[in-house]
């Protein structure tokens, strides 16, 4: 029964459905949840899956390919071009230095120089899947650390190509390895040498040209059929097609799909593609993480615990130090540098591929690759933990250090307004207040953003505003108003509670994402709640009415009336909202919308400006003439 596909699917899905929410609940992040799920169902614990875990891992690696496609979609070519220095500089340095350092250490341990070099190169790789998934989940992709991590990972993906070409050359000249090399030839190697680069360049050009000129037409035709699943199929075909093409010419499929994504980033089908690929990507990545968890060979670890954990810690420390030095060189601030370093210090999933490849080629011996495979899996499993430790221990301590340095000049400010969060939202509020000569003290958690703003002459401080000691130093005791403009709903609620508890006299003006968030804030006793899309949507409504021929003033008044009505409805509905947490979110949304629409239809406060409307006067006049 264990052989059946459905049984396997059930085991994987059940493990994910149980473990991921538990991990999230414990604040461990989804990646760690999947890894634990993998360990649980793997040979070490419940034995639902055995050695086939490795095969599944190779299959699930396709999730990484899809992830890079989605990342490419979000990255316009112009932005990629702007990142070129970071990609080449940081990425190049990271691979170069790590390879040299690890190879040097390997030589010290008496490993032959060829093998040492190969080991160095393999170990310099980091895990795109784990790092990007974790950074995304923590909302750090747009920070300096996120961008730098992405740049390094992208360069690593590119670097795999020359590595694969180089490894056979480094193989010990034994007949076994010759045979191995032949066994794994890619079709391109059967071409004459002069044709190979042309084939490679040709396929890259094919992706770019197809993406730019052919796919828009294809998508238009498919979209016209109005069959959603056909569009999904087309999107999958595109990704799989690129992957096949890339594998054929010996390039990394992830790199190819990334390129395809970038080419399509400006296309009008970008969001459609993204939402179609996203669930596949998520499931495959989850499967991949579970497979990594399941593949950890606990028997091997138990046999040589000292050797394996020594290698794990040694290699991670080694990579971490190299990364921190590079981050420092590229002027990342300390906290961003720590996120960058701890994020990338594991050995990536490419290592599995490269180890099996090198074993075949006879570059490295089987015993070494077995140990190293276990080491790689453990470093990957440890990454979410390392990031968590960095967050909970180092970064908070760093916050204290920063605070002390800046304490005196914050006290000197004593501004009436504190703004927590200086992204697009907070920064507009702040600029408006400063334009009217109102002093503001700004707290933000993105330290690079903070440094930049400070250079621009704004009073911006690094710090997590939900810590009451930091608020105290920012002058919350003397300020009149705090504007909570941070984008994270959970963080906002935490901050509200902190302010209510420690600074009850402060007026709280708080941003909210939508109705539900606004309800939560109302429950928290907030009086000044600003739904971030309400005003903008109504302005769109006004312009739409105006373009349809309504008079501008009437449309504007109607929008104001609607605004007042909607705020009233919100207050009324918040009282009768279904508090039962177990009602599914989707159903709640529908019911809520129904209530809102009903309120729109029946509301007496949507009557519009009757004083300007002479209907009743005219009726009176007409009935007077009739009598």
């Amino acid at each position: 029964m264990q052989e059946s596909f459905f049984f396997q699917a059930m085991v994987y899905l059940a493990a994910a459905v149980i473990m991921v929410p538990v991990a999230k609940r414990l604040g461990l992040g989804s990646v760690l949840g999947y890894l634990l799920a993998g360990v649980l169902i793997g040979p070490a614990c419940l034995k639902f899956i055995g050695q086939e875990g490795t095969d599944i891992m190779h299959f699930a690696e396709f999730g990484v390919v899809m992830m890079l496609f989605v990342i490419g979609l979000e990255l316009e070519p112009s932005r990629l071009w702007r990142l070129r220095k970071t990609i080449l500089g940081m990425g190049g340095m990271q691979i170069g230095i790590t390879t040299v350092v690890v190879a040097g250490l390997a030589l010290l341990f008496g490993i032959d120089w060829k093998q040492a070099l190969v080991l160095g190169m393999i170990i310099s790789m980091s895990s795109t899947a784990i790092v990007l998934q974790s950074l995304n989940e923590k909302g750090l992709m747009q920070t300096a650390a996120g961008q730098s991590s992405f740049a390094v990972l992208l360069f690593q993906d590119i670097a795999v190509i020359p590595m694969l070409a180089l490894f056979p050359l480094l193989a010990s000249a034994t007949p076994v390895s010759q045979a191995g090399a032949h066994a794994s030839v890619t079709p391109i190697e059967s071409l004459p040498v002069w044709l190979q680069p042309i084939a490679v360049l040709g396929s890259v050009a094919a992706i770019i040209l197809t993406g730019r000129y052919l796919t828009p037409h294809l998508f238009r035709i498919v979209a016209k059929t109005n069959m959603r699943e056909l569009f999904t199929a087309t999107a999958l075909l595109l990704v799989v097609g690129i992957a096949v093409l890339m594998t054929t010419v010996g390039l990394s499929p992830a790199l190819g799909t990334f390129l395809g994504g970038v080419v399509l980033a400006n296309s009008e089908y970008r969001h459609e593609l993204e939402s179609d690929i996203d669930p596949f990507k998520g499931l495959l990545l989850g499967l991949f993480f579970m497979a990594v968890g399941a593949s950890i060979d606990f028997q091997l670890i138990l046999a040589n615990p000292a050797l394996i954990f020594g290698l794990v810690l040694g290699l991670m420390a080694c990579k971490l130090i190299v990364l921190l030095i590079i981050g420092k060189t590229f002027k990342l601030s300390t906290d961003q540098n720590l996120i960058f370093g701890f994020g990338l210090c594991q050995i990536g999933e490419f290592a599995f591929v490269l180890f099996s490849f090198t074993a075949q080629e006879g570059v490295l011996d089987k015993q070494l690759t077995d140990v190293m495979t276990a080491v790689v899996a453990i470093t990957m499993a440890l990454t979410p933990l390392a990031m968590l430790l960095n967050e909970k221990l180092l970064l908070t301590r760093l916050g204290v250090v920063n605070k002390d340095e800046r304490e005196s000049d914050i006290v000197a400010e004593e501004n009436p307004v504190i703004i927590a969060g200086y992204g697009h939202f907070g920064n507009t509020v702040g600029r408006f207040l400063q334009a009217n000569n109102v002093g503001t003290t700004v707290l933000d958690v993105d330290s690079d953003n903070v440094d930049w703003l400070r250079r621009m002459g704004f009073n911006v401080y690094y710090g997590d505003a939900s810590r009451h000691d930091l608020l105290e130093i920012a002058g919350a005791g003397k300020a009149k108003i705090i504007v909570i403009a941070i984008s994270d709903e959970q963080k906002r609620l935490e901050l509200v509670e902190t302010v209510k508890k420690h600074f009850p006299d402060l007026h709280i003006l708080v941003r909210s994402t939508n109705r539900y968030d606004a309800y939560d804030l109302m429950n928290a006793g907030m009086l000044h709640i600003y739904r971030e899309t309400l005003d903008t949507s109504l302005r769109v409504g006004v312009d739409a009415l105006t373009l349809l021929g309504y008079r501008a003033h009437e449309a504007t008044r109607a929008a104001k009336t609607f605004f007042v009505h909607d705020e009233r409805t919100l207050k009324r509905l918040s009282a009768i909202r279904n508090e039962d947490e177990y009602v599914s979110a989707a159903r709640e949304t529908m019911e809520e919308l129904e209530r809102v629409i009903q309120a729109d239809r029946s509301s007496p406060d949507l009557r519009i400006d009757e004083g300007w409307d002479e209907n009743s006067l005219i009726q009176d006049a007409q009935s007077a003439t009739r009598t």
């Binding site: 008044r557 104001k560 009336t561 007042v564 400006d609 009757e610 004083g611 300007w612 002479e614 009743s616 006067l617 009176d620």
Partner: protein, 202 residues
């Protein structure tokens, strides 16, 4: 006791000495409500229900404002347009305001002489206020003469305080119903009444 409602409108109060003095002088008077229209409705979006409820709850409605272009600031006109609804304030079924009193309290740069037949403005203040007077009539209210502060740019701080005291005395007397409206209606300005009020025992 009569309830007095001051419908106050000044688009930039921070720059007005006169109205600041007047508002301060009548703060915390019993039975006097100040409704600061520009503060309450900065975007001119007037809450008609609230305003109608306020009108119902008061007996004397005072419009206090600068005399911009021989009239009031825009929000007062908006207020009239929207709040005084047909069949509520006027019309065959519009009896909500019957018997209430209404007058204006205004400040203007020109002297009292400038509002004479030979002055720059040619007509007396009372004539410029005809739209207010007729509005009150149509809503079956009694329109009383205005309380006017002339030549505001030349007022000394002492004069400002003096006007504040006069205004406060007037409002207190109105609230206490110590005024015989038979005497008031023929007057040009409510100011002329205040001198006699000062001599009365409070």
């Amino acid at each position: 006791m009569a309830k007095v409602l001051i419908q106050f409108a000044h688009p930039i109060l921070s720059k007005s000495r006169v109205h600041k003095a007047l508002i301060q002088s009548c703060a915390n008077l019993n039975d006097v409500t100040i409704n600061d229209l520009y503060e309450r409705y900065p975007d001119m979006y007037i809450d008609v229900d609230r305003e109608q409820a306020l009108l119902r709850a008061h007996d004397i409605i005072v419009f206090q404002h600068p005399f911009y272009w021989y009239s009031s600031p825009a929000i007062i006109k908006q207020w009239f347009d929207l709040v005084l609804e047909h069949n509520w304030a006027y019309g065959s079924k519009g009896n909500a305001l019957v018997g209430k009193k209404m007058f204006n309290v205004i400040s203007c740069g020109g002297s009292r002489e400038a509002y004479g037949p030979t002055g720059t403005n040619r007509y007396p203040i009372n004539q410029f206020l005809l739209p207010f007077e007729q509005t009150a009539r149509l809503c079956k209210m009694t329109y009383l003469p205005p309380f006017v502060i002339h030549a505001t740019h030349r007022l000394t701080p002492d004069q400002l305080i003096d006007y504040g005291t006069q205004f406060r005395t007037l409002l207190a007397a109105l609230a206490a119903e110590r005024i015989d409206f038979q005497h008031v209606e023929p007057l040009d300005y409510m100011n002329d009444l205040v001198a006699s009020l000062a001599n009365q025992p409070v």
